[in-house]
């Protein structure tokens, strides 16, 4: 039922959007990310896979400095976006996060109306010239996240009154509405049914035309479907990174192999 959306796996660009070097993350004592080096291409979908608790979310949060909000978290090493170190003192995390959007693992809609949830980003970034513009952005984003039909009659109801999957799509719409250059998605389809999933995947593919997308997923199939590059994490290490095709068909590291074939978790 699911292979219908498989996309071409050709990487259409070879400029690096993000380059990470020797990234370490500590939660207090705990060493959650160990020595990760990775180069993420522009106009490409990169999938992070790996067993639960291996550090995927943690690393994802490094890329737009969301780890700043966790008191105990400490990041070392260097992550460059378009050649600029995002941990540089002069970098404004706000500007960074406007460029590098994020969908979180647990849907976290604002306790506001559905409309305001989506319009929030465009409003603060001044993306809409007028109300009609804004309406358009909201509609487009909700359509992209495959939510429009379900909520178009209840845009003024609170986003917290949606079902789990609807909330997740709302959060995707919200992130997309700000038109970031890089979009980090932490298990965006975990609560979605196959159809919604394929729509979101289609959206990801759309986005890839212009931007870079990093997606965390537990579904190997999904990784295979949407991504051109795949990174496999294990116990805080980046074990293997390469073309999705290669990783799935010809993994180099025994750990990758056994994860893909379902032997370690």
């Amino acid at each position: 039922m699911n292979d219908m959306n498989i996309v071409e796996r050709n990487v259409t660009t070879d400029t690096f959007k993000i380059t990470a070097r020797k990234v370490q993350v500590y939660y207090g004592e705990k060493h959650a990310i160990k020595d990760v080096d990775v180069d993420i291409l522009d106009k490409t979908v990169t999938a992070f896979i790996g067993p639960s608790g291996c550090g995927k979310s943690t690393f994802l949060r490094c890329i737009n400095r969301m780890n700043d909000t966790i008191d105990v978290a400490r990041v070392e090493g260097e992550i460059k976006l378009d050649g600029e170190n995002i941990y540089d003192k002069r970098v404004d995390p706000v500007q960074l996060r406007a460029k590098v959007g994020m969908v979180f693992q647990k849907p976290n809609p604002f306790p506001k109306s559905i409309y305001d949830n989506v319009a929030y980003g465009p409003r603060i970034h001044g993306l809409a010239r007028n109300r009609a513009d804004l309406d358009e952005i909201v509609e487009k984003s909700l359509r992209g996240a495959a939510l429009w039909n379900e909520v178009k009659d209840r845009l003024q109801e609170p986003g917290t009154g949606l079902s789990g999957g609807q909330q997740q799509r709302l959060c995707i719409a919200r992130a997309v509405a700000t038109a970031p250059e890089v979009l980090l998605m932490d298990e965006p389809c975990s609560a979605l049914d196959p159809i919604a999933t394929s729509q979101v995947e289609e959206l990801i593919d759309q986005l890839r035309k212009e931007f870079s997308v990093v997606i965390v997923t537990h579904s190997m199939q999904q990784a295979a479907r949407v991504s051109q590059k795949t990174a496999f994490f294990h116990l805080g290490n980046l074990v293997e990174y390469g073309d999705t095709d290669d990783i799935f068909t010809n993994p180099q590291d025994p750990r990758t192999e056994s994860y893909i074939s379902g032997r370690i978790g």
Binding site: L81, D82, E84, I86, D88, R90, V91, D92, V94, Q95, L96, A98, K99, P122, I124, H125, G126, L127, A128, D133, E136, I137, K140, S141, R143, G144, A146, L147, W148, N149, E150, V176, A177, A179, E181, I195, A196, Q199, E202, L203, Q206, L207, K209, E210, F211
Partner: protein, 454 residues
């Protein structure tokens, strides 16, 4: 129900806002960051205003009141002349107790005059009034007690350390200057010089004044002897009552209203009602207390029990309002989690919601108690302004004995004529703040323990 048809049409929304280096701020970001800075500055400013006000108030209180903790004493030999102490000469304690303390004043005056002569101190224009006004009236009383306790002292000369009067004391605290003394009907330049001379001589010392903390209030005639012992006990008793009643009742009421009560017109009425009670002027609680506790229930006036009950009623709305707000801010998912494993509502509240709401509850309690601790108006109506010079007993019986309270004592002292009382009022405020600080420390500790984000 999905959007199969329109996804293809999707492209990124709006126009691109950020392109270019992360290291250079775009114009819009610059504006937003400026707003951010301003916002943060407002916060710092607000804290600064609050802290500065506090510092200002504290320095002025401490500046005014620190001297209350020091007091000037003089020690001179006093001859307990039998003519005065035992006019009938029978050495009968019964008879001797018929001599009032006022008469002992002449003993002190005479002894002081003799002492001055002996020491060869020469002061111009020293009158009898200066001498008799040199010592506190309290000194007469303690002299009398000494004599009545040991009748064999009659006729002898004893070394006596006595409180000096408030004016003499004021000379060493900057309250009385030579110039003001010259205009002051209650003292004189000569007395000023005498005090200076005695100080150089070492007979007059200013030292820590523990009796300010332990002794009861004194009358207008002896400001220097007034203390806040009774007021401290009274306030302590009242705070105990308020804490024991208001905290559990307030929290219980909030829990019911927030977690159990059906949301209907009736609970709306209760809700509005409670907020409204917070706006009732405190004096009205005094009226209520007078009517309900003294006139109806027949509790005695001027006692901590009535004061405590009135303050409890007054603090309740504050505690309820803040507790409800705190309960409300606990996310429903926590309640779901507990109910989902089969906890009863009561268990959910007691095990999860209440601990998470604890910081807010503590804040409400602290603010409520602080307010109750500093409240005067309702206590005026139930007789706590009384001049009480006997200590209340140990609780619980002591709750029913007359007592004073710190804020009332402050209020009372600021009304008295002798300027020495003003310093004592500030001293009492310092004690009150120390009280408050102790309560705060406890709350800080507890709040730290309970505070967490989720």
């Amino acid at each position: 129900m999905t959007d199969v048809t329109d996804t293809a049409a999707f492209g990124p929304g709006g126009e691109r806002h950020t392109s270019g280096s992360l290291l250079t701020e775009s114009a819009r970001t610059r504006k937003r960051n400026a707003a951010e800075k301003r916002f943060k500055a407002y916060g710092i400013g607000a804290i600064a205003i609050a802290i500065l006000s506090l510092v200002f108030l504290l320095t002025s209180i401490i500046g005014d009141g620190a001297s209350a903790f020091r007091q000037t004493y003089a020690s001179i030999p006093v001859t307990l002349s039998a003519d005065v102490v035992d006019p009938d000469g029978n050495r009968d304690p019964e008879e001797m107790s018929g001599v009032y303390s006022m008469s002992y004043g002449s003993l002190l005056t005479d002894s002081l005059r003799n002492w001055i002569e002996q020491e060869g101190i020469q002061i111009e224009g020293l009158t009898d009034a200066d001498l008799s006004g040199f010592f506190s009236n309290e000194a007469q009383a303690s002299l009398r007690n000494q004599v009545l306790d040991n009748p064999e002292l009659v006729g002898q000369t004893v070394e006596m350390t006595a409180l000096t009067s408030s004016r003499v004391d004021g000379m060493f605290k900057g309250r009385v200057s030579e110039e003001s003394a010259s205009r002051d009907a209650k003292t004189s330049v000569a007395q000023f010089q005498l005090a200076e001379a005695m100080r150089e001589n070492g007979t007059l010392v200013t030292r820590f004044n523990s009796s300010f903390i332990t002794k009861p209030d004194a009358s207008d005639n002896r400001a220097e002897a007034a203390g806040i012992g009774v007021a401290i006990l009274g306030s302590l008793y009242m705070m105990l009552i308020v804490l024991v009643l208001a905290l559990p009742i307030g929290v219980a009421a909030s829990i019911y209203l927030e977690e159990f009560a059906p949301k209907n017109r009736f609970t709306d009425i209760i809700e509005v009602n409670i907020s409204n009670l917070a706006a009732v002027p405190s004096i009205v609680f005094g009226i209520l207390g007078l009517a309900a506790f003294i006139n109806f229930a027949g509790l005695p006036r001027s006692t901590p029990i009535v004061g405590g009950l009135v303050l409890t009623l007054m603090t309740l709305p504050t505690i309820i309002i803040s507790t409800r707000a705190a309960l409300k801010s606990v996310p429903p998912s926590i309640r779901d989690a507990a109910l989902g494993v089969g906890a009863s509502r009561m268990q959910t509240v007691l095990h999860h919601v209440l601990p998470l709401a604890m910081p807010g509850i503590l804040t409400g309690t602290i603010i409520g108690l602080a307010q109750a601790l500093g409240e005067t108006a309702p206590l005026l109506l139930i007789g706590m302004v009384a001049f009480v010079s006997t200590y209340p007993g140990a609780p619980p019986a002591g709750f029913f004995d007359p007592a004073s309270a710190l804020p009332v004592q402050v209020y009372n002292w600021t009304q008295r004529a002798d300027p020495a009382f003003f310093e004592r009022a500030s001293g009492a405020i310092i004690v009150l703040l120390v009280f408050l600080l102790c309560m705060n420390l406890l709350a800080i500790y507890l709040r730290r323990k309970f505070e967490r984000r989720w």
